[in-house]
Symmetry: D2
Subunit: 101 residues, 4 copies
């Protein structure tokens, strides 16, 4: 399955990239395929791998803040993998051009 | 923490309440405090309890479908509980009337 | 269509119910059917009504904060209305008991 | 502001990339800066531009389906632009390496 998640800490001011960076480091070290974009991080793995990873990220951010909002969006399709790239390629093929820029 | 989640099965037609009902039954049997509304189910518990519960719901729906989209939104605030009711009451107090209808 | 939305202001501390209350007042005055729950507000109407409403709420909160995160989730099903209640009733019928508590 | 959105049609089977492609074409023709990733499309503009665009995409998909689920996530920060790239760069600077791959 693939999952996109984002963690927003409250009570730490307007800029939160410092906290996002802590979480992304943990994702980077996990070894799971992932991609960072402006609204979240997409990771591919099975349920337990991904939830264990997000829990680690959550714990790291909650060490320094009192409240967090987490968004997780999962797309689980049987028998499919390599979907962080694959889903975009599938749309590009239908449009007839490369649009990722 | 409290978490809202929804599971949408693809490939089973336009009406999906039969699948939602399967998931809600599992939530109901979990013993965790929860509330069902038109866009999802809100449950209160700790990370492991809630993620174990959502995993069970996911597995039940994936038994009968090939692909699902899951949305999870978490609000984790240290030292606070009873928040399924409490958050709404806090807003109502500020507005000065009961608005849940 | 029905839409659930939530607005989270950043840079105003850990408690944000004061800002949520401002938005909910605007929803209440709109005359559209709505329901407040612990993770957002659900409103029923057509696209323009709902987006105009959320824009008003956004503007009200952004007057006092520098940054906000908004989540909107829409369920648009042709020929269906009364769905804030109707979707929950449909699940309850399948489960065989009232579960809203 | 930047907004991520995704449109999921129900009742059209398991594969929905054909419908996503229709929406992405509309985004591509809008002239707004955007980026497609595996879980949605991120676009930058003001509220009216973005909501008008998503409405067009919604209408195009609803022409061929009976029901859709739309997710929109907005990050609105006063006085900031170029954020589709900027937010990722800000995290990369804090981590000390390029992680987009």
């Amino acid at each position: 399955m693939i999952a996109q998640f984002s963690i927003v800490p409250l009570g730490v001011g307007v800029s939160v990239s410092e906290y996002v960076a802590k979480a992304v480091k943990i994702v980077d070290e996990s070894g799971l395929p992932y991609r960072l974009h402006a609204m979240g991080t997409i990771v591919e793995g099975d349920w337990d791998e991904i939830m264990e990873l997000i829990k680690k990220c959550k714990d790291a951010v909650l060490k320094e803040t009192e409240r967090i909002i987490i968004d997780i969006k999962i797309d689980d399709r049987k028998g499919h993998s390599g979907r962080i790239e694959g889903k975009v390629l599938s749309v590009e093929r239908k449009i007839g051009k490369e649009i990722r820029k």
